[in-house]
């Protein structure tokens, strides 16, 4: 721009525009520093804003997967512990049955005592089968009731079993895992007779002293114990799967948080240096204005 004339107004305006520009830059730096964010609105960086939104959305999903997995692990651990107790109870009943099978060495009183212990084991087993996690019976499928079995060892809500999806947790994108075990799966054999019935049978056999009945109970209890052990290893496998998914989701959360931070957050050192530089520029503009606007020819005319 070639200037043939310069007027005081032009200089004032130019100084003012310069100061405004410098101050605008200072304000921009200040906004970034005070909010701690590079992108305060989509137009600051449209692509970055989209990336940030995408990352936030993924981050939210991954954090939810971690919560879901935590819940699943809690449920699975509870199931495992319960089945562990029940397994040892079955072993104990099996041992009692073996002891009772030795009818020649035992009198009717001793057998009756064994029978009482078996009944207690049975009651304990039924109570364990009603174990709950967050108010839901572990072995009751999708029942809304508070227990899976009644005192007789019968399923309370058969309609809640073997239907629907059971109890599932989403542990990764599109990955849903079933975490519950329905009572009959583990407590009933292929014939549909439950371990509780077997225990009742054993108790009756001990009372009657029938060797055949006791021997038959021994075989059945062996199968019952095996099913529980098998189910525990199955639960263990599911737990491993859930825990793997959890650590993947955890890692993903961390990576996504880092990525989000690098897209969205201010590099403090850089922003501070920028602010200082811009402040210097602003001060220079102020200084120039103060010096430029003062003199005029009138100062030099007598």
């Amino acid at each position: 721009m070639t200037l043939s004339r310069m007027t005081q107004n032009m200089m004032s305006r130019q100084s003012f525009a310069g100061m405004q520009t410098a101050m605008d830059r200072v304000a921009k730096s200040q906004e970034q520093l005070t909010t701690g964010r590079l992108i305060n609105r989509p137009s600051d960086d449209p692509t970055g804003a989209t990336t940030a939104m995408r990352l936030r959305s993924s981050l939210s999903s991954q954090q939810q997967y971690v919560r879901n997995a935590d819940d699943a692990v809690g449920w699975l651990d509870q199931t495992d512990t319960t089945l562990g107790t029940m397994g040892s109870q079955i072993t104990r009943a099996h041992d009692i049955a073996l002891e009772g099978a030795n009818t020649g060495a035992m009198g009717p009183d001793a057998l009756a005592a064994l029978a009482t212990e078996v009944e207690q084991i049975r009651a304990g087993m039924i109570s364990s089968a009603n174990a709950r996690y967050l108010d839901r019976p572990l072995f009751g499928g999708i029942t809304t009731g508070t227990a899976a079995y009644d005192a007789n060892g019968d399923v309370l809500d058969p309609a809640a079993l073997g239907t629907g999806t059971g109890v599932v947790r989403t542990i990764a994108d599109g990955q849903r895992i079933r975490i519950d075990v329905e009572g009959p799966e583990v407590f009933e054999g292929a014939d549909g007779v439950s371990v509780f019935t077997h225990l009742a049978d054993l108790s009756a056999a001990l009372k009657s002293g029938s060797t055949t009945a006791i021997s038959s109970a021994i075989g059945k209890l062996k199968d019952d114990g095996d099913r529980v052990v098998n189910m525990r290893s199955e639960i263990g496998a599911r737990t491993v799967r859930v825990e793997n998914a959890r650590s993947v989701a955890d890692d993903a959360s961390l990576t996504l948080t880092n990525a989000l931070s690098s897209v969205e957050n201010v590099d403090l050192a850089k922003a501070t240096v920028d602010l200082s530089l811009r402040e210097v520029a602003y001060k220079a503009a102020l200084g120039a204005t103060a010096r430029v606007l003062q003199p005029s020819l009138l100062d030099f005319l007598r």
Partner: protein
């Protein structure tokens, strides 16, 4: 042969001329920072022999002094036209950029409180409900977060509606201002033609005229054509807004109802001429009016329509998934989200379900007439969560709008450089330089002193001639 007093007259003319030069300098200094003031210069011319001598007459005059041939306004009409054009563009871009930035702030993304976050939270709460279908807290949470989604959409829609309402009010106010300014310009035109006919100085009226024309360009992007008699005509979108002493009346002919609400059609204008004829439609080519119309007719409704499309997609997918499920009592799921206003789906989005047990996360249930059986199945929870697929679309929408805002801001910044440049060029021409005026004052003062000295000199000469000549021997 010049008379003895000729030089006194010459000196007198110099005194008069220098005095007027001093007057002009002081006027310039006084108005150094007056808006729209154009610096003046007194134009002097030598008074000489008669330009058209009579037959046989002969003049041997050397010069008879100086006279002021008029006061010149230091303007360049072409530059003024350029200034008006650039200012019209600048106002257009500034208005658009300011409104779009406001809307963008209302969108509030990326943030922890916007629509995107509300949707994420809603999705997460569905997972939580899947984890604990028997928990009333989890169910309440889903309802609360669903309302959060609806609120977030409502807020965004309300921002858009508010901005549209503001722009409509702005159009109405702008039209009023245009009519006032146009009438003022017509009045100024009348004064100019009357004054110049009477030989009076019209410089101040011209300043006013230029300022009014600039204002009209800023408001409408109208083009101004200076006429030979000093008046200025304004043409708006091919129709005459101001012609000499007459101003037409601009009216909103469609798009804005009397109470300031939208009437459903695009905004249109008509011009009623003083003779009663009507130009309809008149399309403003730039300035604030065109920016507001563009915002009302395109930018804001386009965004609102895209938002509504997303809401429709979201509502339909979620409701469909919800209808496939069964609620806590085992009854079939009903409508979950509903928009009551088909023209503003985002603004009227509500959660229909108010009873937390009515959230249909179970995939097992009974359809009437059999009595429903409650269960804790969550087969439908995942389907509900998976039905929420508008995140991508929403990100695209926000990204698109953000890009538009960034682009309009860039354009406005570029235009600002251009506008500043032509403003500077005009100021170069018309601005008062105090240094220059000081020099002018100095020159006028010195010339005045010199002319006075001329008078003294002539006076002394005459004194010599009259009082000291022919006194030999007295």
């Amino acid at each position: 042969m010049a008379g003895a007093f000729s030089s006194i007259n010459t000196a007198l003319s110099a005194l008069r001329y220098q005095q007027s030069a001093l007057d002009i300098a002081s006027t310039n200094i006084a108005n150094a920072s007056t808006d729209g003031y154009v610096r003046r210069r007194v134009v002097g011319e030598t008074v000489g022999a008669a330009a058209a001598p009579a037959v046989w007459s002969r003049s041997n005059e050397i010069g008879s002094g100086v006279q002021s041939s008029g006061v010149q306004r230091m303007v360049d009409p072409l530059l003024d036209a350029r200034v008006r054009r650039e200012h019209g563009r600048q106002t257009y871009l500034d208005t658009k950029a300011a409104a779009m930035s406001r809307v963008e702030t209302g969108i509030n993304e990326p943030s922890t409180t916007g629509v995107a976050k509300a949707i994420d939270t809603f999705r997460s709460s569905l997972d939580d409900l899947n984890n604990a279908p028997n928990s009333d807290a989890a169910r309440s949470q889903v309802l609360a977060n669903a309302n959060g989604v609806a609120d977030a959409f409502n807020t965004q829609s309300r921002n858009l509606q508010d901005e549209m309402g503001d722009q409509r009010a702005r159009v109405v106010a702008t039209v009023q201002e245009i009519n006032t300014v146009a009438q003022q310009l017509a009045d100024t035109n009348r004064s100019i033609s009357a004054s110049s006919g009477g030989g009076s100085d019209t410089a101040t009226l011209m300043d006013t005229r230029d300022q009014l024309a600039l204002r009209l360009s800023e408001l409408t992007g109208a083009t101004a054509t200076p006429q030979a008699d000093g008046t200025m005509d304004i043409t708006l979108g091919g129709a005459s807004l101001v012609s000499g002493r007459d101003a037409a009346t601009l009216e909103v002919s469609a798009g804005i109802a009397a109470d300031g609400t939208a009437d459903g059609s695009p905004v249109a204008f008509s011009l009623t001429q003083p003779d009663g004829s009507v130009d309809d439609p008149v399309v403003p080519s730039g300035g604030r009016l065109a920016a507001s119309v563009e915002l009302i007719d395109h930018v804001l409704p386009d965004y609102a329509a895209d938002l509504d499309a997303l809401v429709e997609q979201f509502t339909k997918a979620f409701n469909d998934a919800h209808a496939l499920g069964f609620d806590a009592t085992g009854a079939q799921g009903g409508e979950f989200f509903h928009s009551s206003d088909p023209d503003d789906l985002a603004g009227s989005l509500r959660v229909v379900v108010t009873d937390r047990s009515k959230i249909a996360v179970s995939s097992i249930g009974t359809t009437p007439p059999a009595a429903p059986v409650p269960n804790n199945d969550t087969g439908n929870a995942a389907k509900l969560a998976d039905s929420i697929t508008i995140q991508d679309g929403y990100q695209r929408l926000v990204n698109g709008f953000g890009s538009d805002v960034a682009s309009i801001q860039r354009l406005a910044a570029n235009q600002s450089t251009m506008t500043t440049q032509v403003d500077a060029a005009r100021e170069q021409q018309t601005g008062v330089s105090l240094d220059e005026e000081s020099v002018n004052m100095l020159m006028a003062q010195r010339s005045y002193e010199a002319a006075a000295r001329v008078m003294t000199t002539v006076d002394e000469m005459l004194d010599t001639l009259i009082n000291r000549t022919g006194l030999v021997g007295r």
